[in-house]
Amino acid sequence: MIEVDGVTCRYESGGGRSTGDGSDGVVAVDDVSVSIPDGEFLVVAGANGSGKTTLVRTFNGLVRPDDGEVAVNGTSVGEDLVAARTTVGMVFQDPRDQIVAATVGGDVAFGPENLGRSHAEIDRRVEEALAAVNMSGRADERVETLSGGERERVAIAGALAMEPDHLVLDEPFTGLDEPARRSVVDRLRALHREGTSVVVVTHDLRDVIDLADRVVGLSRGRVVVDAPPAEAVGTLSGLDVRVPESCAPKDESGAGEGGSEPRGGGSGPHRDGSGSPKTGSGSP
């Protein structure tokens, strides 16, 4: 259970560096409250710069809110970062920059190693996590040789090896071709069926709308819609969010432009070290 209560995140614009993501304001997330029960499949939708990346990064303390409170399973994130980060597994936009080892198995083992688990348990977790992303028996393969979809799945396995209750994926489909997207969607469906809560952050609902229990739409850091997908799509197409054609309003102008999120750059005001919201480093 993730509970976000009245969270506001500002980023320091003192350095004067533009984040280049179109958000002029210094408020990235503006008084957002949302709660995510265990087992839910939630889509956080919004255009580039809507604050969606910043919002989910408060779930595991990568971003510390300036106001408000985030609690995971009843414990404040700031009070126990390790608990928050093991409960909320997170997969970022470009898998190439989050895979830390040269081999698949070495990478997936990174999380449980940090938690100080025994070798036997690390082996078990790596095996299970790879099985969950359909990559059993491929622990010794080199990351360099994998396709984009396989790398995405290794990144997901790396988060799963922490055995999280919630799996958060930020723009997981960027840069993937159709078969690769489908393979990732299939894995997410299976994970959700087995009880993991999945949160997908995206500007493009087409791949995940069928899986979603609920859609939270953000614009300029504020929640503008929080509803089941069928109700939410009407509002979303006005937010530069791509929705399936069957759901889109007749007039398509603008709706298709949301797909222009730059490759590789993080979304949200988090692109470089300086202009980002305070990242939680030390103890509070």
Partner: protein
Amino acid sequence: MTLAYVPGDSLAHRLDPRSKLLVQAAFAAAAYAYTTPRGLAALTVVAVGSLLSAEGGPRDLWGYRFAVPFLLVAPLVAGATLGEPWFRLDRARDTTLASYRVLLVLVVAAAYVRSTPVRDSRAAIQWAIPGKPGQFLGVGVALVFRFLPLLKRDLLATREAIHARAGGERPLRDRMRLVAVGGINRAFGRADRLGTALNARCFAWNPTLPRLSFGRGDYAVTAVGVGLFAVATMASI
């Protein structure tokens, strides 16, 4: 053909990285101590034997060919003198032996690289250097292996972009600057995303370290290493 780890089950592959590192250092010490025709002949046997035990061959040494010009020119420079007798054979001979010594040490190193996965080397580093410095080195070297191919590609892409816009006409300083700016920007971008990803996965100073197992063969190799060190020390007394 770049020298790199090749999965396998050779004698050298089954050894513990620590004994392999020890024997490399000991071999180098012995080679410095005995840079004589007889000493180097004996060490040649050891060097070739170690490369064969890793199922390696001449192809693994191809990458070191760039050292060869120095090794060939150095004896000539050492032998040449200003004035009579213009060329001193004894000095040229010493430097020729020294050049050959370089090749031998590289052969033994090639055997290590061919037979040792990064994970093993990392475990050896963190065994030798405990605590935070060890974790910094261990995680750091793993990341270097992981990101080197990506950054190489980034740089080549930058370089091609410069060429495509007739940047080849610019002065050397400008071309260097443009390549470096491109490389650094990509590296910083990747580093900041990587840092976030490390944190999300509870990057800790005190993780479970990879396994190491010291087997029977390792005692033999360690004995060889200690022997080489002893021989090297005796020569210098």
